[in-house]
Symmetry: C2
Subunit: 213 residues, 2 copies
DNA sequence: GGGGGGTTACGTACACCGTACGTCGCTTCG
DNA sequence: CGAAGCGACGTACGGTGTACGTAACCCCCC
């Protein structure tokens, strides 16, 4: 069997695979090497260290998301589409999401979505300062939402516990009254709600100078 | 010197201290024990394992934030105040923020802010479903914002690089045109902007039945 | 054809990690 | 005074990232 010769790309792919199968904690250089059928130290010919490898993972996952942008659409639709695109990360690579979100990527993979978003907002008539502000707002919302969706941040959804739980109704009346709502979370609906709320809010925002498209 | 006898609280305090001084990666059971002047295994008399210790850290940091709630204030002011309170985490314990945000806390420390927020929203006239939705929206925004503030998520602010950087102006025209804006980030202003935007958006939200306060 | 230099695979070794387990001393109670 | 319990601690095991040295290979140039 002609085992291919090992490469940065193959190592990263194996890491992603391992993370999705067994979680981020399962990732170790030894484990990845074993998965590929090589010795541990061979990895270091292609990757300077584990940290850089994980950056590669984040970068790869991020660059895999597909944006479909229609320059002729109304700017609100373009924003909607771009915002939705990020949810592909949570869907396609749930257990890598934390990694993607928690690493500063100064590569083109990280800058491309930013460039696209800024262009859209500028073309919608936002001046530079507001475009940046609004973008940051969206990113914060998206990061927070994805982390909730992949379960690093609480949804208050069914943890292993029994049904409606032992939250003390006298100590937490609202939580216990709303517990059934708190324990179910339709991520898609929540995300759409947030995106629409933000779009509506910024569409109305006073400091946007007129002249749309 | 009468070295106090070791306790869960002292261990957690030492862990927080260590994290803030040297970062989360510096935390090890051995290191914490050394810091306190005890043997490693003594820690396990007070804490079942490292994971539980880190949960304790998150819980402690979270419970330290001070909410000042005035039940007579307008609901928008109450929401504002509660949202602002969370930023204390990023200020008081920047390097622990990631921990606080990334651990599911089913204790009272984690439920108290939820209870308070829901009560406020309910009293503002939101029905249960919308109160939960809105709360989730705020939490997502807050989590995303705090992570940006403590630097786990990019601000595009001055990393160690030289001034205005080598982003390719033909590849990323908007990014490079707005680079000075992208590279400075007034966290307080960004946060306030977001909070106001959200409050304004939900205040207008149609499905809120009338009857305020 | 014969080096020789660069690249890659790999084994060994070291320092560090979390923690299971057993022991020892002290404190407290019967 | 003995027993029982608990907290501090040492040792040990299996895991981690990676520095370093070595050996095989390929390709180029003399």
């Amino acid at each position: 069997m002609a085992t291919e010769p090992l490469s940065r790309a193959r190592i990263i792919a194996a890491a992603i695979d391992l993370i999705e199968r067994e979680g981020a904690d399962a990732v170790s250089m030894r484990r990845i090497a074993a998965e590929l059928g090589f010795g541990v130290m061979s990895l270091y010919n292609h990757v300077p260290n584990k940290d850089a490898l994980l950056n590669g993972v984040a970068e790869t996952v991020l660059s895999e998301i597909e944006f479909t942008d229609d320059p002729d659409a109304h700017w609100t639709d373009r924003v909607r589409m771009q915002a939705r695109a990020f949810r592909q990360i949570a869907h396609g690579h749930p257990r890598s999401t934390m990694l993607v979100v928690s690493r500063q990527l100064h590569s083109t993979a990280g800058l491309l979505p930013v460039e696209r978003a800024l262009a859209t907002l500028r073309s919608a008539g936002f001046d530079g300062a507001h475009a940046v502000r609004v973008l940051r707002m969206f990113i914060a919302f998206i990061v927070g939402s994805l982390l909730r969706e992949v379960g690093v941040t609480p949804t208050f959804a069914p943890d292993h516990r029994q049904t409606v739980e032992e939250v003390d109704a006298t100590l937490f009346p609202e939580v216990s009254a709303l517990s059934s709502l708190l324990h179910s979370c339709d991520h898609e609906a929540e995300y759409e709600f947030g995106v629409e709320l933000l779009i509506q809010a910024i569409a109305v925002h006073p400091q946007r100078r007129e002249g749309t498209r």
